[in-house]
Amino acid sequence: MNTPLIFNIQRFSIHDGGGIRTIVFFKGCPLHCPWCSNPEGISTKPQLIRNNNRCIQCSAEDAYHCTNTPDNCPVNALTCCGQEYTVDQLVKEIASDQIIYDEDNGGVTFSGGEPFLFPEFLEQLLSRIRPWTNSIAVETCGNVPFENIEKALPYVDLYLYDLKIMDEEKFRDVCGGNLSIVISNLENLVSLHKNVIPRIPLIPTFTDDVENIDRIAQLSLKLGLKQVHLLPFHQMGSGKYENMGMPYTLSELRPFTDDQISAVVSRLESGGLQVITGGF
């Protein structure tokens, strides 16, 4: 079985999915979007993160030059990203807030990275938590074999499904993905499950052109979907690139103004879609 590393378990998330949720982040993604706000979720391997803001220079001039291990760093400026969990251990973590997220549509969200890179592990986990978990959501980029998605079908309440760049070539060049797989998976999924919501990262010059937005709207409407989520670009993840020693190419981009965002929202709405900005 392909066992994932987990790079974060975020409790009390109130911005992704309904209610109060615990989010489990799987490490490893088939894509590499330059705006990714969880770049630590791209590689499946463990990685060292150097958070220089925390460094107290106890053994080196800064965290980037430090040769200590995470264990020896007194302030956790050095941390190892990606931890192994057994299904049992993860079940226990998810259960710890169950009493709190039990209300209305709170629950668990699997995110990443890409949870469907680990179909057997995910299936085992889902079958364990299903009996007592209110709502189970999965965030996916859709760029995986459909059988990976299919395995989880009986357990999942809600899919948050990324639609980014709707041009085959551009999508491949920018994110390294295959658009026809993403679209055919979405079609299949919608035919089998009633709760799928497209998520659109709104990124200047990458996804925000009118044509791209219209294509997403058309596809959604064609599939009978009623709601989309719009996630406007922000620079919040940029520090992580530096900490991981990864190049970040979007530092020049400016976030959208409220007016620009409303323009996109109206465009989507005019076609008959309900738009939620920033998720739930």
Binding site: F12, I14, G19, I56, P74, V75, N76, D97, I99, I100
Partner: protein, 763 residues
């Protein structure tokens, strides 16, 4: 005057005036005391109150629609040198420039105090009665700062009178009740004193009627004239008889409260379940066609009045109770006597009118339970989201079983309410001495380590030592508390208040003599979070990893981590901390707090009750922290302790608010029957809009199911607070949550402000 405008003006008047001290009460109290020498103290106290109520200057301020002011100038402090003249003498020059709760003293008042009041009360005060009673070991425990004993220099307060009885019987009705019991039991000093107080109050109301007469005669504005006439008629109506309307009930309630303030000048004579016993008056008025707006105005006026009463405390005491937690604490919701959800229309109106006024008082709380309607919980959440920290929320699902286990009857447990900040009490039936002592557990560990480090060979041995020290010091705390209790029983009678306490008339005894039904002494265990965090570090660092010896470690702590910053950081970041849902350390905190609780509850107090443990700090985590050197959890010497009583140490909770709830829930909340306190801070974005409110309700339901006693919220951004610190003038009316109560941010000293800013903010 439009009605909201009226209350904004009255509010501004409160906020903009310089606080002064009025020595009037002290003057008349002393005058009377001098003439009653040789008489029983309870009679002397009653006569002193009578003299005060007969002579103190009274006023109706412009725009007021309810009569009754404790002082003529807004928000003045009043002194009670009969409790202790000493701290006033020592601090009279610094009162105006002290960092917390400053007051201005007029030069002539200062002279009057030093020449007349001080020389008379020196050697005669409550303090003089208490001091010689404290044995050397108790003194030592106080001097080493493990135990602090409160109310040695002021009245006890911390009680909820049976206002329902007041409103149902009226003043004459209570007097007749005294007659009945006097006939049955024979005359005694208590009955006599109670009668003096009640008729003194009636005469005091008579003075207001007279004043209103004069004002009416002078008033040119017909609209205002009508308001004054209404006040006069209401005062006449309730001077003897029971009230007939919501307005009259409010008027009687307020007059009685003013007299209670004059009687003891004590903190937290709390209001209780206002939405329950005012409901019949509300319903009757509504049926009679009184408009909701008129009722709202009465409520708004009461809320303003409750902020007019601020308590003058000593410098030290003001640190512990920073920013005037006067304690007009009102509980909404809860259960009916038959066990159904008890929110009603009036509960909603109270929140609505609170939203209009937004001041620290009344300190509203909601009693939450499985049967309380969710729409009311959502309504309460809306008010909490305004950011003033009001209302805070109490959990019937754990508090009631705790009370039942203490021998409180089922009906009384269903009727519990909160005194002051978070103290759990039964209205009209409990004298709980809720704030008699505090127990500084990190200080206890510090001293134990300094004395015994070299003898301790194992972690188990260390825990045994800590548990033994807890036992020994609880015994001393109990002894000290009982001495104070005894002295109050001799010199701090409150016969007026006692008339509204079940059992007092029946037994013919004042509450301070043990006259009422339930008698507890409430003692707070403080800093068990720091204690557990520190012991966990020692367990791992010293005994498991053997990185250094215990004596070496204690030496580093003694030097306040000097030259050991790396180790300090390691202690902060590398070992489990309470507040992150990690069993090893959470269960250790639970074990030690339970140890403390179980020690306390084995002791009896002098009124036949037991010691009831609690865990809350008010704002004392700062002064108590000043008394503790560096601790093994990475805390520097003199830094604050963990706030609240249950909250994690600032900055140590890194796993979000649900992990905090989980950690807190591992403590035994059935045991802390005196009350406990949990602070949580959210950024305003966290619960924005209707969906946010819904998530907030979810969070509260989760909290309730986890059987945690209490929770309060600061929903205000760090940026706002920092800006308010820089520009106090822009934020004169910014109300924030301190600990079990809210205060005006500008009324807090910089340390307390910083403490609030530093609390972990969840988003």
């Amino acid at each position: 005057m439009t009605t909201l405008n009226r209350f904004q003006i009255l509010k501004q008047q409160l906020l903009s005036t310089r606080r002064e001290i009025s020595f009037e009460r002290a003057r008349y109290y002393t005058e009377s005391w001098k003439t009653t020498e040789g008489q029983p103290n309870i009679i002397r106290r009653a006569k002193a109150l009578q003299h005060v109520l007969a002579n103190i200057e009274i006023s109706i301020r412009a725009g007021e629609i309810l009569a009754g002011n404790r002082t003529v100038k807004p928000r003045s402090g009043i002194a009670s040198p009969e409790m202790s003249p000493y701290w006033i003498r020592d601090e009279i020059d610094s009162l105006y420039c002290r960092p917390q709760d400053s007051f201005y003293v007029l030069p002539e008042d200062k002279e009057f105090f030093l020449k007349e009041l001080y020389p008379y009360w020196a050697e005669r005060s409550l303090k003089d009665l208490i001091e010689p009673r404290l044995t050397p070991p108790v003194r030592e425990s106080i001097e080493t700062r493990i135990v602090s004993i409160n109310q040695t220099d002021k009245g006890q307060g911390h009680i909820i009178p049976d206002f329902e009885k007041l409103l149902n019987l009226g003043l004459d009705g209570i007097i007749s009740e005294i007659d009945v019991f006097e006939n049955r039991n024979g005359q005694n000093n208590f009955y006599q004193a109670a009668r003096i107080c009640l008729s003194a109050l009636q005469d005091h109301i008579g003075r207001y009627i007279h004043l209103l007469d004069n004002l009416i005669a002078q008033e040119a504005d017909p609209a205002r004239k009508q308001e004054l006439v209404r006040m006069k008629l209401a005062s006449q109506s309730i001077q003897h008889e029971r009230p007939n309307s919501f307005f009259e009930a409010a008027q009687l309630l307020w007059y009685f409260n003013i007299a209670l303030q004059m009687e003891s000048n004590a903190s937290s004579i709390s209001t209780g379940r206002f939405d329950q016993w005012m409901l019949p008056f509300f319903q009757k008025d509504v049926a009679a066609g009184v408009s909701i707006d008129e009722i709202k105005d009465t409520l708004r006026m009461l809320w303003i009045k409750m902020n007019d009463v601020v308590l003058l405390r000593s410098r030290e005491s003001a640190k512990y109770f920073a920013g005037f937690p006067t304690g007009y604490t009102i509980m909404l919701g809860g259960l009916t006597p038959d066990g159904f959800g008890a929110n009603n229309e009036l509960s909603w109106l109270i929140l609505d009118t609170y939203d209009d006024i937004r001041l620290p008082q009344p300190n509203l709380g909601v009693r939450m339970n499985e049967r309380l309607s969710r729409d009311f919980v959502a309504r309460a959440a809306e008010t909490i989201k305004l950011g003033t920290g009001v209302p805070h929320v109490f959990n019937d699902e754990v508090i009631m079983p705790g009370l039942l286990a203490r021998g409180i009857s089922l009906k009384d447990a269903r009727d519990y309410a909160i005194v002051g900040c978070v103290e759990i009490s039964v209205p009209g039936k409990m004298y709980g001495l809720h704030d008699i002592a505090m127990f500084n557990s990190p200080r206890l560990l510090e001293l134990a380590l300094q004395k015994h480090a070299s003898e301790i060979a194992s972690y188990d041995q260390l825990i045994t030592l800590v548990e033994k020290e807890i036992e020994d010091n609880v015994a001393l705390m109990v002894d000290g508390s009982n001495q104070v209790d005894t002295a109050h029983g001799q010199l701090a009678h409150i016969p007026l208040l006692s008339t509204l306490m079940h059992g007092c008339l029946e037994s013919g005894k004042d509450v301070v003599e043990g006259g009422t039904r339930y008698n507890f002494s409430g003692v707070q265990g403080i800093g068990f979070q720091n204690l557990a965090d520190s012991l966990e570090v020692i367990r791992l660092l010293v005994f498991e990893e053997k990185q250094l010896s215990l004596t070496e470690f204690v030496k580093i702590l003694k030097n306040n981590w000097q030259g050991s910053e790396k180790l300090r950081q390691q202690c902060i970041n590398k070992y489990p901390k309470y507040g992150n849902d990690i069993d090893s350390v959470d269960l250790l905190a639970a074990r030690l707090l339970s140890k403390y609780n179980e020690c306390c509850e084995t002791y009896k107090n002098v009124r036949g009750g037991i010691f009831s443990p609690g865990s809350y700090t008010v704002s004392a985590n700062i002064p108590l922290g000043e008394q503790v050197g560096a601790t093994a959890d990475g805390r520097m010497a003199q830094e604050q302790l963990a706030d609240g009583g249950l909250s994690p140490m600032v900055g140590r909770d890194t796993h979000g608010p649900t992990a905090v709830l989980k950690s807190v829930s591992k403590l035994d909340h059935y045991q802390t029957t005196n009350g406990s306190l949990l602070n949580i801070k959210f950024h305003p974005n966290a619960f924005k809009g209707d969906i946010g409110t819904r998530k907030f309700v979810d969070f509260l339901i989760g909290w309730m199911r986890l059987k945690i006693q209490h929770i309060q919220f600061n929903i205000i951004s760090r940026e706002t607070l920092i800006d308010a610190q820089k520009h106090p003038d822009k934020y004169r009316d910014l109300v924030v949550r301190v600990a079990g109560y809210s205060a005006l941010f500008v009324d807090l000293n910089v340390k307390t402000q910083n403490d609030i800013i530093a609390r972990t903010e969840h988003n």
